[in-house]
């Protein structure tokens, strides 16, 4: 018996690994990172309130978007520029004030991340006349922010095709 087990141990192990990989792959393809991520933000920040009702320009907070490859999340100080003089108190605003008073940055959960072999630049796409909503969706109408697109290569290439942008490999992989 032991012999049989030993004979098949490798195969069983490999099968197990394949099954686990399939399960993880399934969740990944379902955009599961978003399912896991969106409710776990340390503060229930609402784009609907800030970008929608208050009509704050995206670039006011995401200051890097038109000058840098990364759009960047705002320093806590940017939040406090308004919030230190606002009287409203909600549990979520309290959380913000706690971070600020402790002099700690807010550990936001990352929703999208491109692999290291892709070089995407926000600056270039904004310079070409795209709007934030073209890729990120109508965040001004969302109280929680999900991932708006897959951000996978096919999605990039289709848009590059539509807009007659370069499809040379070295456009993004360099």
């Amino acid at each position: 018996m032991a012999l049989i087990l030993r004979r098949w141990a490798g195969t069983l192990l490999a099968l197990g690994v394949v099954v686990v990989a399939l399960i993880i792959g399934f969740f990944y393809s379902q955009g599961s990172a978003d399912l896991w991520g969106q409710d776990r933000q340390p503060i229930a920040f609402s784009h609907q309130v800030h970008a929608g009702q208050l009509q704050i320009n995206c670039l006011f907070c995401h200051r890097g978007a038109n000058i840098s490859p990364t759009a960047s999340v705002p320093p806590v100080y940017i939040c406090m520029m308004c919030h230190k003089s606002l009287k409203d108190k909600t549990p979520e605003i309290d959380k913000l004030l706690t971070y600020w008073n402790k002099k700690e940055p807010i550990p936001w959960v990352r929703l999208q991340r491109l692999p290291d072999f892709v070089h995407f630049t926000h600056k270039m796409h904004l310079s070409a006349g795209f709007k934030c909503t073209d890729c990120h969706g109508q965040v001004a109408q969302m109280s929680q922010t999900p991932r708006a697109a897959t951000y996978e290569m096919g999605w990039c290439v289709r848009c590059h095709e539509r807009n007659r942008a370069s499809k040379d490999c070295f456009t993004c992989h360099y």
Binding site: G10, L13, G64, I78, P105
Partner: protein
């Protein structure tokens, strides 16, 4: 390839499991951590480039460092710097691995246990500095400081401090260049280096000068060499390299002449004699008689016999050299590290005098370095001076040893018995950022910042045609609890009364630098407010002036004597010459703790991560030695073992081993790796420069019957030679 099914599955399993890891384990990339307060100078995702000065060797190239979100990411040459013109060598590139080295000393330490045991425990900065200063004050006049050559403001600070406490300051770094400097001083009466104008030369006769390996500034001369060969539309400069071992420089030459070691000066004299006798010399009236008297003392046949360069060859060299439009002779490397090193360099300089290239384009030109920028008065010393220090410690006239980025226990052969100083010293303090072989023997370690975290300047003494003072700034915040060595010396100076305290009253090293720059820029007639000028200099990476006229050289000395070099070890027992050569990557061992430099293949043999012994093909065949066999190299002073590399590029009577490995400390990448060929050298010196005659020890070799784990890039994983393209391999 024999891969069993089970192994295959294991590999597949491990790969599949591994592919899942980034999603689960790498928590850091799943968070977006913003700044608390925005930093005006930082846009996340956009790089800032800061100009600074490289301190990985003594050349002082200008660098620009790419910094993103406060982390240094990449280093390039500063395009506007006159020395390196935007280029940078491997050591400079790898200095990032000095900054981020996992074995950096992270805070002040004091010895715990016996000296040299390698046990240390943390001490606070206040206590550490207090202990150092009290040891100095307990023993007035007892301190010797051995420092790598500092430059500019730091050199001035060291030298004023050591003078103030009646101590001795020695700027020492191991190199083959001391005889080159001494020969210029004795021959031309000038203390700084000339510009060797390779770029405009049409015929270059080099006696061992490894100018694309490590001579003076390989980056500067690499650029000039490119100009000489390919930079002019109608002229391609010719280049002959005379040296017993084919260095990378010789491999770039049109002709390699494998001369007998230690006779390079004789060959230069022979060539000179032919130039004179064929009346091709361009000498001034005053010099003619003096030179004729000197050169006629030698017999060409004897020279040919001693150098093993045939008379015919010498005549050809002499004619080519003297009829070239812009001939230039240079020397260094193995020709310099002999007991007659300085004389040899002077004999080579005499060739330049003979063809009248002093002050000419394509020749030797001395340009005035930056004036009014004080670097103190301490001079660079060579190994002999350290032997004298040993005497002082023995007599008891000195008892405190201070080390700054100098590693004499590694770079001096044990035959010099410099270890005695470490036994006899009452107190040893080191300011090194790394636990090198000598720092491991210290009683107290007060670690300096790495140079990328420090302020500093570098006054260029020669080589460039324009005066240059490089300016270095911290490009990142200090990673660890280290302190700038300049600050420590200013704090210590405050503990003394009187002149020392008054002279060094700046609050920190940066203020001292700013004061020095303020007065310097004033004297250069910069009529800008200092703050604006300072920022401009920081952005440019220093100050460089306009090109002046070459200084006219009035002194033209011939070598006082020209004799063959002396060697230690008799020819019968020790039949081989021995040349430990500075590795291009590791230099004299400084680079050994940087993995990038360890894995950079040696240009000739493709060896990585270790030591090897170069043996000529014929010698190896005679002794039945193959590449990879461990051989023992035995000198009258010790022995080392390393794998052999069969190499046709050296004389059959020469054995050579790269310097750089064989550390007993210096972190995980360096410690216990390979062997140190300096450890079997005889205490022989070039008399005039006091520099160690590293090429003066004779050796014999023995097979050990063992196989070494030599890694050559030019072979397959099974150790077989790679097949040339289009052929079948051995495997």
């Amino acid at each position: 390839m024999d891969l069993k099914r089970r192994d295959f599955l294991k590999v597949i399993g491990a790969t599949a499991a591994g592919s899942l890891l980034p999603g689960c384990a790498n928590v850091e990339t799943r968070k977006l951590i913003p700044y608390l307060l925005p930093d005006d100078e930082i846009v996340p995702g956009v790089a800032n480039w800061y100009a600074s000065v490289c301190r990985e060797c003594e050349a002082g190239c200008g660098i620009i460092v790419r910094v993103m979100e406060g982390r240094a990411k990449k280093i390039e040459g500063n395009p506007t710097h006159p020395l390196n013109q935007g280029k940078l060598c491997a050591m400079g590139q790898a200095s990032l691995q000095g900054l981020y080295n996992p074995d950096r000393i992270r805070g002040p330490l004091q010895r715990d246990g016996k000296r040299g045991e390698g046990k240390f425990k943390p001490i606070s900065w206040d206590d550490g500095i207090a202990r150092w200063v009290s040891e100095l004050q307990k023993r007035p006049g007892g301190a010797v400081m051995i420092s790598r050559p500092a430059s500019g403001t730091l050199a001035r600070l060291f030298s004023e401090f050591m003078r103030g406490i009646s101590g001795e300051l020695l700027f020492y770094h191991p190199s083959e260049d001391a005889p080159v400097r001494t020969a210029n001083r004795l021959g031309f009466g000038i203390d700084f280096l000339p510009e060797y104008d390779l770029a405009n030369a049409t015929y270059l006769l080099s006696f061992g000068a490894p100018f694309v390996d490590h001579w003076l500034s390989p980056v500067h001369f690499g650029i000039a060499y490119g100009q000489m060969r390919q930079g002019r539309p109608t002229v391609r400069g010719e280049f002959v390299q005379v040296e017993p071992r084919l260095s990378l420089t010789a491999a770039s030459a049109d002709q390699w002449i494998p001369i007998r070691p230690g006779t390079e000066g004789l060959l230069a004299v022979g060539v000179g004699q032919i130039i004179l006798s064929e009346r091709r010399a361009r000498l001034g009236k005053g010099d003619q008689k003096r030179f004729e008297d000197f050169y006629t003392r030698f017999s060409l046949d004897q020279i040919a016999a001693q150098t093993e360069v045939p008379r015919k060859e010498m005549i050809r060299l002499a004619r080519e050299f003297s009829t070239a439009a812009a001939p230039l002779a240079i020397g260094g490397g193995i020709a310099a590290v002999q007991t007659n090193g300085t004389d040899t360099m002077m004999a080579i300089n005499a060739l330049n005098i003979l063809v009248g290239n002093l002050g000419q384009p394509g020749g030797i030109r001395f340009f005035q370095p930056a004036q009014d920028f004080s670097s103190g008065e301490a001079a660079m010393v060579a190994e002999q001076a350290l032997a004298d220090v040993r005497g002082e410690f023995k007599q008891g006239s000195r008892s405190v040893l201070m080390l700054y980025q100098s590693n004499p226990l590694f770079t001096l052969p044990p035959s010099m018995k410099f270890g005695d100083v470490f036994d006899q010293a009452a107190f040893i303090v080191s300011f090194s950022p790394f636990m090198d072989d000598s720092t491991a023997m210290a009683d107290l370690i007060l670690p300096d910042h790495f140079f990328l975290e420090s302020w500093g300047d570098y006054a260029q003494a020669g080589i460039t045609p324009v005066p240059v003072v490089g300016l270095g700034q911290p490009v990142v915040n200090p990673l660890y609890d280290t302190r700038p060595v300049g600050d420590l010396f200013l704090i210590a100076a405050r503990q003394y009364e009187g002149a020392l305290k008054a002279r060094l009253s700046w609050k920190d090293f940066k203020s001292m630098m700013e004061a020095q720059w303020k007065s310097f820029l004033n004297r250069q007639g910069v009529n800008q407010p200092f703050e604006a000028a300072w920022i401009e200099r920081l952005q440019q990476g220093g100050w460089w002036g306009a090109q002046g006229k070459p200084i006219s050289v009035s002194k033209r000395e011939l070598p006082p004597s020209v004799a063959s070099a002396r060697f230690e070890g008799d020819e019968k027992t020790f039949p081989f010459y021995f040349y430990p050569f500075p590795s291009m990557n590791l230099h004299y061992g400084q680079g050994a703790n940087r993995p990038w430099l360890q894995e950079l293949p040696d240009t000739a043999t493709t060896a990585v991560w270790g030591s090897w012994v170069e043996i000529n093909t014929k010698t190896a065949a005679r002794m039945g030695i193959h590449t990879g066999d461990v051989v023992r190299v035995i000198s009258p002073f010790g022995q080392i073992e390393a794998p052999a590399v069969i190499y046709p590029g050296l004389r059959p009577d020469l054995i050579s081993v790269p310097i750089g490995q064989g550390h007993t400390a210096y972190g995980r990448y360096a410690k216990g790796r390979g062997v140190n060929p300096l450890s079997i050298l005889a205490p022989l010196f070039d008399e005039r420069s006091g520099s160690l005659a590293a090429g003066g020890t004779r050796v014999r070799i023995e097979k050990t019957g063992k196989q070494g784990n030599l890694v050559l890039v030019d072979q397959t994983a099974e150790g077989k030679k790679r097949a040339p393209e289009g052929e079948r391999g051995e495997a």
